[in-house]
Amino acid sequence: MAEPTTVLAAEDSPLPRIPVGDWIDSGLDWVRENFAPAIDAVSDVTLAAVDGLTDLLLFLPPLVLALFLAVVGLLARSVVFAVGSLAGLLLIQSMALWTESMETLALLLVAVLVSVAVAVPLGIAAAKSDRVSAALRPVLDFMQTMPAFVYLVPGVVFFGLGVVPGTIITIIFALPPGVRLTELGIRQVDRETVEAGHAFGSSPGQILRGIELPLARPTIMAGVNQVIMLGLSMAVIAGIIGAGGLGGVVSRSISRLDVGLGFEGGLAVVILAIYLDRLTASFGGSGQGRRGIFAALAQRRRRPPSAPPATADPTTGTTPQPAPEPAGRR
């Protein structure tokens, strides 16, 4: 009489119980048994890449690396951004989370590199063929809507605990926006411009490299930006399965109910996220609206020599205007 109603409902259901979970389990088992060498190889390569990059990032003194990253920010964007990121990075170090942050950054960079390397060609294929696009769409939907935590289990089943499954599931989780936005970007390229390429006798490869990819660049870069953001969130979740880094800090804080530690870990993640987001966003511009010193240099190069040199206004990041020399400046 006191039977839980949910169980009753399931037993009373006229539909048969479909053991989807069992099928997945046996499918995974089969893959694990039959592809063991491949899995080992992937595992070794991933581990070597992430460890190598972590070592490289930690090889430099934190202050030097932070300065270097700030300078990159200055070149790509603005002085304000450079100062802000330097302050943020120094704060990470002051919270004694530098090593963990660099571990997460290394994992993220490897995962993003692979994700983009897979996503962009897939996106191009999807843009070129409606059939490929139709086949990819449900797969991407599946990958994007599947709760992030569900990826952890098969990751562990295949690759055990540690950095490797963390990297692999980050790759998979971060992939979809890269594919989608690449496809979108290329499909959005002005039809007439592509036609012009054909009309002057360009080969499909010349059109892709010379017209479609450059014109789709802002959208593709938005995709890369999304890949990085999603990757970062997954890289933290992967802390649960022992991927280390900031994810490890966060999951430790959960198990110990240590609010302060959790907040510190979270703050470090936020700083990394903002730095990477703003940095990649600055590469997405169309060239005209680009800010920072790269853009100012590019502008100056394009100007005829007679024109006054461009002076970038770093605080507002507006398009450089030839400004009169301030009095008293030598």
Binding site: A196, A199, G287
Partner: protein, 409 residues
């Protein structure tokens, strides 16, 4: 040798295109085909474009003109029929050979310019040569030359979006010219420009064409533009060419009601030239007697005589009434013509002078020798669309001659 030859060309979009072509050939109407789910865009078009001519394809949107143009360089594959560029059959080519024809033989200018925004104006103009694999220095030199030709020599380092619409289309034109192809396809090339710039571009195209002698297929929905530019015009409607001919012949004989309705909007004063309305000049030397001059006028017909000096150059004009009023030699009655114009001057240029003076306008050649006389009534007749028979208005010469006879007797 025709530069471009189109034979039995069909393009049907949608379901069962080949079947639709068979039915169209058997005489089915376009509406019937549309009902069966296919859309005929181009139906049984035959054209031959001669080297060096500007061939205008004119039609409203949906008439199939852009589809036709895109089959000329293989951007679209016809459902049936053939296209020859020179001796190459475009419709039989694909892949690399087709690309080679596009690289060397046939280039294109687009309605919305289709420039590459991430490249400089110079690199845009050099695009065709770059695709062909020409080395950087050679192609940039050629691109610079083409840019100078279209008046953009100083803009080479700029980006396309730093230029105005008219200038951007000049880059598009320079890109097509730099490819050195002798056939130029222009798809509504000036339609996106405002009217003043459009006129300027039309003038420039005509000027370039006079120098370069390309074979140009120009698509437009603007009949005035078609009349201004075209050596010949094909008017398309619902996928078919309904009228083909020179601007003047189409104006004089529209052929059907559809074309006639179009023509209502045409500015005829810009289509017809002085050569179309003039009558051959009857010349007399300055020192001839008025009597002999009147005889000449009566004998050849015309409202006025062109008076010339010893070299045959125009001195002035005399009308019958001038001769009647004068005593002594013709020289005393000579007065300046309303204007001296070239044979290619449009009627629009004649209107002012013809209205300001009752003397006729004289058409002179490069050496200043009179070749024709334009009576203001002939101008009005041409503008009204009446067939000008080239004869003088009634009651001008003959009556005066009679008068003179009478006064003598």
């Amino acid at each position: 040798m025709t530069a471009l030859r189109v034979e039995g060309l069909f393009k049907v979009f949608g379901r069962h295109p080949a079947q639709a072509v068979d039915r169209l050939r058997a005489g089915a109407g376009a509406d019937e085909i549309r009902a069966s789910g296919a859309t005929p865009a181009v139906i049984d078009v035959d054209l031959a474009v001669e080297p060096g001519e500007i061939f205008v394809v004119m039609g409203l949107s949906g008439s199939g003109k852009s589809t036709l143009l895109r089959m000329l360089n293989g951007l679209l594959e016809p459902t049936a029929g053939t296209v020859h560029v020179g001796e190459d059959e475009i419709t039989a080519l694909s892949g690399k050979p087709l690309r080679e024809v596009r690289q060397r033989r046939i280039s294109m200018v687009f309605q919305h310019f289709a420039l590459l925004p991430h490249r400089s104006v110079l690199d845009n103009a050099a695009y065709a040569l770059e695709v062909r694999g020409v080395d950087r220095r050679t192609r940039q030199a050629a691109a610079r030359e083409a840019l100078t030709m279209v008046g953009l020599g100083g803009q080479a380092a700029k980006r396309p979006d730093e230029l105005s619409g008219g200038m951007q289309q000049r880059v598009g034109l320079a890109r097509a010219l730099a490819s050195e192809a002798d056939v130029l396809l222009m798809d509504e090339a000036f339609s996106a420009l405002d009217p003043l710039i459009r006129r300027e571009m039309q003038d420039q195209l005509l000027e370039l064409q006079a120098r370069l002698g390309k074979t140009i297929v120009f698509i437009t929905h603007d009949l005035n533009e078609a009349m201004r530019l075209g050596d010949r015009i094909a008017i398309m409607r619902d996928g078919r060419v309904v009228r083909l001919g020179t601007p003047e012949s189409i104006l004089n004989d529209p052929g059907d009601e559809y074309v006639e309705r179009f023509l209502a909007d045409v500015d005829r004063s810009r289509v017809f030239t002085a050569a179309d309305v003039m009558v051959p000049a009857v010349t007399v030397p300055v020192d001839v007697a008025p009597r002999a001059a009147l005889d000449a006028l009566r004998g050849r017909g015309g409202s006025a005589l062109a008076v010339v000096d010893g070299d045959g150059c125009l001195v002035g004009v005399v009308t019958a009434s001038d001769l009647l009023a004068s005593s002594g030699v013709v020289a005393a009655a000579v007065r300046p013509p309303a204007a001296r114009v070239a044979a290619t001057a449009s009627l629009a240029e004649l209107l002012g002078p013809a209205g300001a003076s009752d003397a006729p306008v004289v058409v002179v050649d490069d050496a200043g020798r009179p070749s024709g006389v334009v009576d203001s009534r002939a101008v009005l007749a041409a503008l009204a669309g009446a067939e000008s028979d080239g004869r003088p208005p009634a009651g001008s010469v003959g009556d005066h001659a009679e008068l003179l006879e009478g006064s003598r007797g």
